[in-house]
């Protein structure tokens, strides 16, 4: 930390650059949306200086409470300008997806304007220091080996459950790319990619159709055959969990994913079998807890859903699925297990109902909550004493089940009225 502070002190310029308007050209734009401590920001800037090719870098920081302005200028080192970044309506805690999406829109616009070769956004607070990952996230964009760098976070078995249960296996099954975190949020984008986004986005209706940019990134990369890689970023630090907002979270996150799915239907219906994605650096192992897990309340939520939400689920799920759910609801918590193929079909049916607007979309996504909590209970029961490798293998089996169920989705998507098992 002392070293980092020392570096920051060295980098304070005599005549700092005060706004982005004063920058006429740069090679890389890095946006920091996370509330990082100043020493981490300094370390991040310092690490960016080690990038090959002496690139000119602009770092935009959205929490510039204590920072005035910093810029490094030396004959050998690449130049870095650290600027405050004003984002409208920024609220990472109440509307994370919208805020991050707006930040991406803002950063690609800035990058396009100053002709940057790449841009990236740092949204998460990470446990490992920036020196370990920032170059992996940005370097491939500058040396032209990758158009899109997605994050891989250190795997803790009970973290990122929405991603593990729905987002990642669904993306893999649909677009055929094994991306661990399709919704990032810490991504790196090449000029070619964000240029396509800016020029084609409006035409293709990305903005007008309400598709969130964060949800549209991986589909665009996969469907546009852009070069994709992943970088290990280490473990993330999370805000405290709040049970009451799971339904709001599902609605906020899955809505844009299902919208992107609708928009890219022609692309994903052609995709067959998934392929692994190149990973750039080595993973950092994180300790796993093996304590007993209390899942009674999760199973209760599931049972309550099966009892009271039949009327709504019957509009979305086929009778065979409803029957299986009723059988599951009669099991004791210690025997409770939601089969992978059933879960995959449920997610596909909800995606289809979202497309067909069978019921109000917000109602639809919120009514998925008891089923999702049922999956969490089932997964937690299976994994409570397992290590990270076993958990990864478990999620791999789930992803394979999603892939195996894709023909079911394609059939229902094409003939929703005719194919209803």
């Amino acid at each position: 930390m002392d070293e980092a502070q020392g570096l920051q002190a060295e980098q304070v310029p005599q005549e700092p650059v005060k706004s982005i308007e004063q920058i006429d050209a740069a090679d890389l734009v890095v946006g920091i949306l996370a509330d990082l401590p100043q020493d981490s920001v300094a370390e991040l800037c310092n690490s960016l200086q080690t990038l090959q090719g002496n690139p000119r870098i602009v770092v935009l920081q959205s929490f510039p409470a204590t920072v005035s302005t910093t810029a490094a200028s030396s004959s050998q080192a690449p130049s870095i300008s650290l600027l405050p970044w004003a984002l409208e309506g920024q609220n990472l805690s109440s509307a994370p997806l919208e805020t991050v999406s707006n930040a991406y829109n803002s950063i690609v616009t800035v990058s396009e304007k100053i002709g940057a070769r790449g841009c990236c956004l740092v949204v998460s607070r990470l446990e490992s220091p920036p020196s370990r990952w920032i170059c992996q996230l940005t370097g491939p964009l500058l040396d032209g080996t990758s158009d899109f760098v997605a994050p891989r976070y250190a795997f803790r078995k009970f973290e990122g459950l929405l991603n593990s249960s729905i987002i990642s296996p669904l993306t893999r099954s649909l677009y055929g790319r094994r991306v661990q975190n399709p919704m990032g949020p810490d991504f790196g984008l090449s000029q070619q990619l964000f240029h396509t986004f800016l020029s084609g986005g409006a035409q293709n209706g990305d903005r007008s159709s309400g598709v969130n940019m964060l949800a549209a990134l991986v589909p665009r990369v996969a469907c546009g055959n852009f070069r994709l890689s992943q970088a290990y970023l280490g473990a993330r630090t999370f805000p405290p969990a709040d049970w009451t907002i799971v339904s709001a979270l599902l609605s906020q996150v899955l809505g844009p994913i299902f919208l992107a799915m609708e928009k890219n239907a022609a692309c994903w219906q052609k995709a067959r079998n998934s392929t692994p994605v190149k990973t750039l650096n080595d993973p950092t192992p994180v300790p796993q807890t093996t304590a007993n897990v209390e899942i009674g309340h999760l199973v209760n939520s599931f049972q309550l859903g099966v009892r009271d939400l039949q009327e709504i689920w019957s509009l979305v799920l086929p009778p065979a699925t409803l029957l299986e759910l009723r059988k599951l609801s009669r099991l004791a918590p210690e025997q409770f297990r939601l089969p992978d193929d059933l879960w995959a079909r449920i997610v596909y049916d909800f995606a289809l109902a979202h497309r067909l607007r069978t019921i109000n979309r917000d109602h639809l996504l919120r009514s998925l909550t008891p089923l999702y909590l049922g999956w969490v209970a089932s997964y937690a029961r299976e994994m409570e004493t397992s290590d990270s490798l076993a958990a990864e293998q478990r999620l791999e089996r789930l992803a394979v089940a999603f892939e195996a169920g894709k023909p079911y989705l394609v059939s229902r998507w094409r003939w929703p009225d005719r194919f209803n098992p």
């Binding site: 009970f158 969990a241 009451t244 979270l249 304590a291 209390e294 309550l304 607007r357 969490v376 937690a380």
Partner: protein, 235 residues
């Protein structure tokens, strides 16, 4: 005597035929009016249906949060519902205009009073339709929200909310139709108050279950300190 009876019969027969003949143009006008209104209704119905399909009315209605309107529309299509209502309205109007063509005092005043009442009927109809849609929407929101909050009386709460909105809607529609407004207001007050009171009782009694569950959970935690709840992270 016979001559006088014959004369009276002739006069009444002439009167009857004269009055019947006077009614004939009215009948013809009624038939023509109905035929024209059927033709007009069919044309307007087709135009309305095509226009609504053109603006994707069904999808828009779903996007505006009224997707439940499709559930009780004919053929699950609100477009069809609207065009049918417009068609029937035009035919009904044509029939009333036809009746007015009889030009007698009774039919004229009847038609006038019916026409004067039509705005109330239309208003009441819209109040009922919107009220029913809102009731279903609110009931569903309450049901999903309550289930997600783990409330065991979610269905009761949803049902109560739905009936509160429906009772309010019916009362508003009846007041609009000017049918026994005094009784309606009184009945509405009693019914609405009754529903709120029974819901309050049910929720109050149901809360004891939540409190006892929470206490039970806390006791378990104290009894077995090695049982640590796993912190699940969803994002």
């Amino acid at each position: 005597m016979w001559q006088q009876v014959k004369q009276a019969l002739d006069q009444s027969a002439t009167g009857f035929v004269t009055r019947f003949a006077a009614l004939l143009p009215g009948f013809v006008a009624l038939v023509v009016a109905i035929l024209i209104s059927i033709l007009l209704a069919w044309i307007v119905g087709v135009v309305v249906r095509r226009a609504l399909i053109g603006i994707q009315f069904d999808e828009r209605l779903g996007r505006w949060g009224f997707s439940s309107a499709a559930e009780w529309s004919p053929g699950r299509s609100p477009t069809l519902l609207v065009s049918t209502v417009v068609t029937c309205g035009i035919i009904l109007t044509g029939a009333l205009i036809g009746i007015a063509a009889f030009n007698s005092d009774i039919t004229s005043s009847l038609v006038r009073s019916i026409f004067a009442y039509v705005p109330n009927m239309i208003g009441a109809f819209f109040v009922l339709v919107i009220g029913t849609i809102v009731a279903r929407f609110v009931a569903r929101s309450v049901l999903i929200g309550a289930v997600n909050l783990n409330l065991s009386y979610a269905r009761l709460l949803s049902m109560g909310t739905k009936w509160m909105v429906i009772v309010l809607t019916i009362a508003m529609a009846l007041v609009h139709l000017r049918i026994a407004p005094g009784i309606v207001e009184l009945a509405f007050g009693i019914l609405f108050g009754g529903i709120v009171f029974s819901l309050a009782l049910a929720v109050g009694l149901g809360s004891s279950e939540i409190v006892s569950k929470q206490l039970e959970r806390d006791t378990k935690k104290v009894a077995s300190p090695e049982m640590v709840e796993e912190p699940f992270r969803h994002l």
